[in-house]
Amino acid sequence: MRFSRTDSSDQTVLRIEGVLDALTAPEVRPTIEALVAEQRRTIVVDVSSLRLIDSSGVGVIVSLAKRCRPFGGVVRVSGLKDQPLAIFKLLRLDRVFGS
């Protein structure tokens, strides 16, 4: 799994590639903590190059969204397809994250 963070004005794009699962999700946690601490207002999680996600990976994204809500932050997920899209649809998250 690889991920990158790109900031521009109020928006942050968090691009996650490869596999976000129980093994790799902890690697993203510090970045999630930083985004929340900095109270980034708009966060786009770009998963267009994400091949596989499991419930642990979903938990990271949901956690980010819930923790941003108190300060008015919004998290959107873009580029959902294939297996990640199937998981998001099953968990009804595709509508929550506006994809």
Binding site: A22, L23, S55, A65, K66, Q83, I87, L91
Partner: protein
Amino acid sequence: MGTPVIRLMVPSRLEYRDLAIRMVASACKLVPGSRGKFSIEVISAFGEALNNVVLHGYAPRTGDIEIEVELGDDRLTIRLMDYGKSLDLAAVPTPDLESLPESGLGVFIMRSFMDDVSYHAGAPNVLSMTKYFQPKTRENA
């Protein structure tokens, strides 16, 4: 010739998750006429099952997980066998998706994507998950 069975034994560590998933994904390719959806759902369910054994069955210690994939005429069955703590599958509640849960989704994914999920506690614990090639087949089973 009997029903083909593919077997793999892996240590109960998340580092072996990718290897095990690749085996299951390869087995899905042997399903006649299977499309992406079948493979996606089987792989997703299997990944959650494997996580459960590693994180809840064995942790903090490690042990072996035996994986069997059986390719029947009309169904694919995956069995995970372990000697860790047993899971009370029936006691796992359905998550309230509206509350955006951050955990407790694994068994829900397994149940949603597979046609039959059963669990027998013991030595070994055996989790069995079946998916029919055609949903119609299940209705007639």
